[in-house]
Amino acid sequence: MSLPVEHNPSYAQYAHPERLVSTGWLAENLGAENLVVLESNEDILLYSTGHIPGALKIDWFTELNDEVTRDYVEGEDFAALMSAKGISRETTVVLYGDKSNWWAAYALWVFTLFGHEDVRLLDGGRDKWIAEGRELSTGKPAVVATDYPVVERDDSVIRAYLPQVLEHLGNPLIDVRSPEEYTGERTHMPNYPEEGAMRGGHIPTAASVPWGRAAAADGTFKPRAELEAIYLDEAGLKPGDEVVAYCRIGERSSHTWFVLKHLLGFETVRNYDGSWTEWGNAVGVPIVRGEAGGALPAKRGARA
């Protein structure tokens, strides 16, 4: 049995309020049966310096990624990982992390590929928990292993591969990278290392909405009206649109995927995790440089 949904008036505005929990709710429910709290960070050592009591660590690079295929783990590995963390198919999983839940949203998206039903984000993430002076622990939580079923990953609904993005051209695309990456001025995040993309720019027609704009200063998600002003009024999305979001490797766009899917209620939102490190290097696909989204290419390149 999963845990009851938090009845929080400030979440009622969102399309799927059941996908969020507040720090207060989590503090009250820590230790509940069928609740597993997972910390997913950019900084792999951060968890060990202190985490929410009872929370376990999950790392995208060492645990959710396959070492050799540039892909996510398969069903068997995911089942083994879940079992080792004491998660069953019915467990309520609450994810949180550093940097406005950026990497926590990424983990949540991967959980969704495996159809894990009840997975929620801690609104505000690690920073909010700490800012509120809540308890941290360096203890190693005891885990009772479970027997998570092997579920095949379903890439067909919320994930887009490069050929599908080419087919999608003409429908809305959201580029969530920084403005400098979008224009092609640089191929990687400001203040981050060169990521090795051959060309700088964006996918033709993509609208630029840097992922962090969805987060308020305290790391929580902005109110729905503000999100609608950004994604609908400004970026031009319309209710019912099928949307593809991308970034550099698919992590920042998972955050935007969460916003579009669970907070604004777009039915069909896919994350293109190949993102710029694939598109920017791929042979025979078009790009656009500069601030404008650009026109649909008449010829979509050799690959289309």
Binding site: E42, D43, I44, L45, L46, S48, T49, F61, T62, E67, D98, P190, N191, Y192, P193, E194, E195
Partner: protein
């Protein structure tokens, strides 16, 4: 000729002789041991060079004295333990060494720590950039 400083060679050995799973713990130990800045520098953020390639803010100062001995100072926030850990490895392995020894450290030294399966390429690159900037500053100061 490229070679590790004796202290750095020891650290590399320390990392590679423990099982892969324990190497992150070791890096965490290093992050806790990053020396505090001396007061004369702590109050002068403008003297530091930012290593923008790191995933979290890291600032460093390289000083080469008259005897061509190099002193290194790092500043990184506690909420960036990986970055602190890398800085601490370099501080322990390079601080107080002759400039020539530091310039001889191979650019891909971070790869020798055996962390590439635990840390994404992006995470590793921050340390490579730190080393490159230290070496560049040493060369510049020797030439000045």
């Amino acid at each position: 000729m490229s070679a590790l400083t004796p202290a750095l060679a020891e650290i590399v050995e320390e990392f590679t002789e423990v099982p892969e799973a324990d190497r992150l713990e070791l890096l965490l130990d290093f992050s806790r041991e990053l020396p505090e800045l001396p007061t004369r520098l702590a109050e002068h953020p403008e003297l530091f060079e930012q290593v923008v390639e790191c995933q979290s803010p890291l600032f460093l100062i390289v000083e080469v004295d008259a005897d061509r001995v190099v002193n290194l100072f790092f500043s990184a926030p506690p909420e960036a333990p990986t970055t602190r850990g890398f800085a601490s490895v370099l501080a322990a392995g390079l601080d107080g060494c002759p400039a020539a020894e530091i310039l001889a450290v191979p650019e891909d030294m971070p790869a020798l720590l055996g962390l590439s399966r635990a840390l994404s390429p992006l995470r590793m690159r921050g340390m490579t950039a730190m080393l490159a900037r230290i070496k560049r500053q040493v060369s510049e100061q020797l030439a000045a």
